[in-house]
Amino acid sequence: MLNALDKKLLEEVADLHGEPPGAFNIRKDGQGIERRSLEGIEINPKKDQPGIDVIVAEGKEGTVHIPVIMTETDLSDLVYNKIDIGAGANITLVAGCGIHNPGSGDAQHDGVHEIIVRKNARLIYTEKHFGEGEEGGKRVLNPKTVLVVEEGGYAELELVQIRGVDHTNRVTEVEVKAGGRLVMYERLLTDGNQTANSDIVVKLMEEESAARIVSRSVAQGSSKQSFFPRLLAYGPGRGHVECDSIIMDQATVRSVPEIWAENSEAELVHEAAIGKIAGEQLIKLMALGLTEEEAEEAIISGFLK
């Protein structure tokens, strides 16, 4: 049974108000607590390790929610999920993790997602991370996503971390095969002494494969962020990497995009920018009646939208 705190966390990370529509699996404090499979969307617990297998049949359309919530302190949860999107299927999958750490010990969730988007399938994948707590216990989230987009497939990843996570090591590895397309949006905000590292490797394996990676971040307080997006073309693929960060206060941001081509027909572009909020932006919004703080908030919120 979900209590009020559970529901709040689920709302934060998965926009859920009550029971999710479609197939779902809710994991709380290291245990699967509620699950529903549907015809064509099987969710099965793994037998040999913690985690689930989500198997979507060919041509199936639907929504799957697999959020994780943690409400205990001194808890470390490691989970391996495998997601298989059958050929021609069209699926929206909402993952994400919300931590409410009530104590002074650490609460950590490490999630490994292996995803395969089979031929001509389409996946919209959202993963939001959120943390909160009163006693100073750290909230740590280390997601690893390993994705293969097969011939003609399409995957759109939206990876979001908005406030409250003390430390994150994010690893994303993607292989895009012939005619496959990847669009990836990463949005991250850190504050205080939080740290965030994001390693992204996207490999364009064959002809007509394409990827667009957009990473936007805001670093406040004394937080530290580092980004290493790498885009590799082994065939005649096309790709674009864009890393954009707003830096504030005493924060540190390191951004090292890399493009690598092993085919003369490949077209790869990268852009990276780090900068503060422009004074004219603040003035514009203040001239509409916002205070400086409200203006700053509106700019950040728009930037991370």
């Binding site: 004219e280 203040m286 001239a287 509409l288 009646g289 400086e292 509106a298 930037f303 939208k305």
Partner: protein
């Protein structure tokens, strides 16, 4: 009414004080439309920025409806009913046009789409567009003007609204500024465009950081033209004789 009394303005540029405005006196009455015109760099936008509180005057007072607002910040002045459409509006990555209009309308849920339509911007096409480099300079400029119209302040200052706008949009722009002017509104348009100078009640010529002339079009237009001629003459790098031979 808004009055600028004995305003001077110095700005810090490269650790040097650069004088911008000198002993400037100017009143804008409610219900009237004004044009501020003058050569580039004469201080027109600085006047607007002093009124909005973006620049703090070095000396002098800014009086709005009988109250000295010279010490108030930008936000307070905006909340009292002073609005400013920027000459070069900043761009905002990720922020949709809709959000900007909502902010202008004090977070009203009902975005005033008419202001976009009036400026030839179809709301269906533009509300979700982000205010970044994907929009052209002319589009950004029209959205800036739409934002001020949505804000609907009592004092409206348009800083070179025609800049970067195509001919067709310019005709609309003139209509929109004129039609949206009300009896309780003060409209100030910084412009060099004759059509805009023709539609206002009073023209104010700013030169060398102060008011050098003001009056209605009939009074002031011949003097402005003569003044522009003098400025060209004195600025001609080849001297008086060469200037006389210049095609004009």
């Amino acid at each position: 009414m808004i009055s600028l009394e004995n305003i001077s303005l110095e700005l810090d540029v490269d650790e040097q004080k650069i004088p911008i405005l000198h002993d400037l006196n100017l009143q804008f009455e409610a219900g009237k439309m004004y044009a501020l015109t003058g050569p580039n760099g004469s201080g027109k936008s600085s006047v607007a920025r002093v009124v909005m509180g973006i620049y703090k005057q070095t000396t002098g007072r800014v009086i709005y409806n009988g109250q000295d607002v010279g010490e108030l910040g930008i936000t307070e002045r905006a909340r009292k009913g002073i609005g400013y459409a920027f000459q070069h509006p900043p761009r905002f990555k990720g922020m949709p046009v809709k959000d900007m209009l909502e902010i202008a309308m004090k977070h009203s849920d009902q975005v005033n789409c008419q202001v976009l339509r009036d400026l030839g911007l179809c709301p269906e096409d533009y509300l979700e567009r982000t205010l970044d480099n994907s929009l052209s300079g002319g589009e950004i400029k029209r959205i800036e003007i739409a934002t001020l119209l949505a804000q609907n302040p009592k004092v409206r200052i348009f800083d070179e609204p025609e800049a970067g706008i195509d001919l067709w949009s310019f005709e609309r722009l003139i209509d929109v500024i004129g039609n949206s002017h009300r009896e309780d509104t003060t409209t100030v348009v910084i412009s060099h465009q004759e059509k805009i100078l023709n539609m206002v009640d009073e023209i104010v010529l700013i030169q060398d950081g102060t008011v050098s002339m003001r009056g209605n079009r009939e009074e002031i237009w011949p003097q402005i033209k003569a003044s522009a001629e003098c400025a060209c003459r004195s600025n001609c790098r080849l001297g008086e004789e060469a200037y006389a031979e210049c095609p004009r």
